[in-house]
Amino acid sequence: MLPKAKLWLSLIGAATILFSTQIQAAWELNMPRGVTQISRDTYDLHMQILWWCVAIGVVVFSVMLWSIINHRKSKGAVSATFHESTKVEIIWTIIPFAILILMAIPATRVLTEAYDASESEIDIQVIGYQWRWEYKYMRQNADEEEVSFFSIMSTPREQIDNQLPKDETYLLDVDNPLVIPINTKVRFLVTSNDVIHAWWVPDFAVKKDAIPGFINETWTIVEEPGIYRGQCAELCGIEHGFMPVVVHAVEREEYDAWYAQKQQEARTTREMANNVVTMEDALAQGEQVYSRNCVACHQAAGTGLPPAFPALAGSDVVNGDLEANINLLINGVPGTAMAAYGSQLNPIELAAVVTYIRNSFGNATGDLVQPAAVNTLIQAAQ
């Protein structure tokens, strides 16, 4: 008897361990508690309402199940004749109403907290584009360089197309994550350049729509350093599933060092805009810019996806007048998905990508575009 019981116990124990590790690994069942006061409050609120629902469900469905089991004709049940009771109706109107008030009180409190974006230390503009995010750090004083960069999914296409094994952070990795300090109130000013997107980090319980022509504000104070991942939550077109949000929350000193370095980089880029580039460098950089910004629509081989997204290979525009080609990239094509890249890429990147498309996919114009020339056209466009 005893050995048998032992065997069972150990089996159950083993099964429990196996099951619980599996749950931790892949079977995420619930909302994350997150790393901010608001996210924990939201989680508690969620659990509170969930348990209310479970309790009500248990009561209602028990009565129902009991009736189904006992009040069946096959058991000889004879139906009663009662069919109304004002008293009962009043009771089951008032009780749910009272429960709703109990739910509404904490909900109102958490919402009021979540809406208080005042007294932030750092303001970051979050701008949605089809299909990437731009982060612009608001300058603290006038002689700072403006730090801004695009954050684009870095999961290779080959993984999506099942030609390479998928990373652990499949679809949730970007080239340039947003960096913020911990224990600091950071305000996000969320807007969009084209369609509506939504910026969402589950661990912060922050989700805000990015709407063209509007600036929405939201905020967070992250308490734990770490890498936090989210995704665009509002359908924004073809690549909606491929614009993740990644936030590095770091210690204040680390953030300050990073910010200073970004300042330096911005200064260097501004100065380099007057440098002369070689064909080799331009093509190499152009290919990178293309694969980050253009490939979703115009495709890796420049074939496009006609009719919405025209081919670049053999295109009249790409093989035609150089200045018109550069202007098209700067200003976009209104009414189509072609965005105005003058505000999204710097002159060096624009020059490189124009050089690249005019000398790839079978196009052979031989043109080498210099950043300075692009800069002139950008100034003219403004």
Binding site: A26, W27, E28, L29, N30, M31, T42, I49, C53, G57, V60, F61, V63, M64, I68, H71, R72, K73, S74, A77, T81, F82, E84, E89, W92, T93, L100, A104, A107, L111, T112, Y115, Q159, D161, K166, T169, Y170, D194, V195, I196, A198, W200, P202, A205, V206, K207, D209, P212, G213, F214, N216, C232, L235, C236, I238, E239, H240, G241, P306, G335
Partner: protein, 528 residues
């Protein structure tokens, strides 16, 4: 002469023209129901494509653009093609028979309101074969994705929506005119079956909001073709205005799809519990309250657009209030079953499943109403799970329950009970495997409307897809049951179900082509 003259008028015409020219409420009801079943299979096919692509991480079957076309078309076809016409079909068949009227009040308009529907859906579906592809901006078609950034086929979509709207408006005018003017003597408003009540209220909702939908698509049309900027921020317009107008239509629309379901369930449960519906009056008032509240809660679909906090609070409180009348309904159904004498034929099984699973959809609805929690749930699979629970084991199960319930009355034959039960159990198991894991996916952070997902979502998507295939395949059983029942089977009595009450059970099965050409005996009309 008079004999042949009578024959000519009392039976249906022969051949295809019978269906084309018919003004008979039963024929038109059948047309609506067959059409909606066809659309259910079409929209279901789109859903199968979606679940197949989501079976595993990575892109396997379709490209993201086609995936978006599938989610959009699935939603549009199911809402406007499957669920709404099915309820109109049930209304056409049952309302005149329930209130003792010879036909609908406006029979020629009835014919027209049906026959424009196939054209609307032909136009919408045709976009799948066009170069620019079908609409790919979601069934909620938020601007500017559906205007400035839309494929050219959006114009076909707009016209299709206009036609569907016109059809719905005509259908609902017809129902209101019938219910208010053609009740048999003795059929007072508070003696009407709840299915008639819920449809009367639904019809008013339709008349109120369908023009709003027409308005919003017309504004889109002008933005796209005539240079206006209603929704274009660059031209001084407001993309959020689109959402306010859309959801002012969209939220009552949700109740348009569920109120008639409440009516169906309120007919079936008393029949199989062999006991009068508990709290008839409170059911009527609860339905009216839900209809009223449906007009003042629309922005709970938009908690993340950045409304002022006063707006957020108002819409949260108003939305939570809906739980009260909805709760009353559920309690009344349970109280009807309590101390009844129940049997569990297929319609009852679907009705019980409706009460349980719709209530679960109601619970998640209450959770979604809590604004700060909604910031986490919004636009995730939690929302997908929620509205599929209220729409599939909710609205769709009620339509199936109604089909099994009234099929003997329509065809004169009993359906195959064993196949019916098989259909129920496979649907019940399938629908829960399909949608229950989606709650977990949403809470864990999977956004909706994505063709591919991060690896931590793989297991539940796999399970969900299996459930989807099971549920999808099971629906073919319904087709078999209906065809078998139309062709033959055990003869049905006029009463059909032991516990059934109401005028429709006083006429023969199958119901004669013309019923109640003279009003029924007022003694047959009982309080519900």
């Amino acid at each position: 002469m008079s004999a042949s003259h009578d024959d000519h008028h009392h039976g249906p015409a022969k051949g295809l023209t019978r269906w084309l020219y018919t003004t008979n409420h039963k024929d038109i009801g059948s047309l609506y129901l067959w059409f909606s079943f066809a659309m259910f299979l079409l929209g279901g096919t789109f859903a199968m494509v979606i679940r197949a692509e989501l079976f595993q991480p990575g892109l396997q079957l379709v490209d993201p653009n086609f995936f978006n076309q599938m989610t959009t078309m699935h939603g549009l076809v199911m809402v406007f093609g499957a669920v709404m016409p099915a309820f109109v079909g049930l209304a056409n068949w049952m309302i005149p028979m329930m209130i003792g009227a010879p036909d609908m009040a406006l029979p020629r308009m009835n014919n027209w309101s049906f026959w424009i529907l196939p054209f609307a859906f032909a136009m919408l579906s045709a976009t799948l074969f066009m170069e620019a592809g079908a609409p790919n901006f979601g069934w909620t078609f938020y601007a500017p994705l559906s205007t400035t950034y839309a494929p050219e086929t959006v114009t076909f979509f707009i016209f299709a929506v206009h036609i569907m709207g016109a059809s719905s408006i005509m259908g609902s005018i017809n129902i209101i005119a019938t219910v208010l003017n053609m009740r048999a003597p003795g059929m007072t408003l508070m003696k009407m079956p709840l299915f008639v009540w819920t449809w009367l209220i639904t019809a008013y909702l339709l008349i109120a909001v369908m023009p709003v939908l027409a308005g919003v698509v017309t504004m889109m049309l002008f933005d796209i073709h005539f240079g206006t900027s209603f929704f274009n921020a660059a031209g001084g317009g407001d993309p959020v205005l689109f959402q306010h107008v859309f959801w002012f239509f969209g939220h009552p629309e949700v109740y348009i799809m569920i109120l008639p379901a409440f009516g169906v369930i309120s007919a079936i449960i008393p029949t199989f519990a062999r006991k009068r519906l508990f709290g008839y009056d409170s059911m009527v008032y609860a339905t009216a309250s839900i209809a009223f509240l449906s007009f003042i809660v629309w922005a709970h679909h938009m908690f993340t657009v950045g409304m002022p906090i006063a707006g957020e609070l108002f819409f949260m409180y108003a939305t939570m209030l809906i739980a009260v009348p909805t709760g009353v309904k559920v309690f009344n159904w349970v109280a009807t079953m309590f101390r009844g004498s129940m049997t569990f034929e297929t319609p009852m099984l679907f009705a019980i499943a409706f009460v349980v699973l719709f209530t679960m959809g109601g619970f998640t609805g209450l959770m979604l109403a809590i604004t700060p929690a909604d910031f986490q749930y919004h636009d995730t699979y939690f929302v997908v799970a929620h509205f599929h629970y209220v729409l599939v084991p909710g609205a769709v199960f009620s339509i199936m329950a109604a089909t099994y319930y009234w099929l003997p009355k329509w065809t004169g034959h009993m359906y195959d009970e064993r196949l019916g039960k098989l259909h129920f159990w496979l649907s019940f198991i399938g629908v829960n495997i399909l949608f229950f894991p989606q709650h977990f996916l949403g809470l864990a952070g999977m956004p909706r409307r994505i063709p591919d997902y991060a690896l931590q979502f793989a297991d539940f998507n796999w399970i969900s897809s299996i459930g989807g295939f099971l549920f999808g395949a099971s629906q073919l059983i319904l087709l078999v049951v209906v065809i078998k029942c139309v062709k033959g089977g055990k003869k049905a009595t006029a009463q059909v179900w032991e516990g059934a009450q109401g005028l429709e059970w006083t006429v023969d099965s199958p119901a004669p082509y013309h019923t109640f050409t003279t009003p029924p005996d007022p003694k047959l009309i009982h309080a519900q």
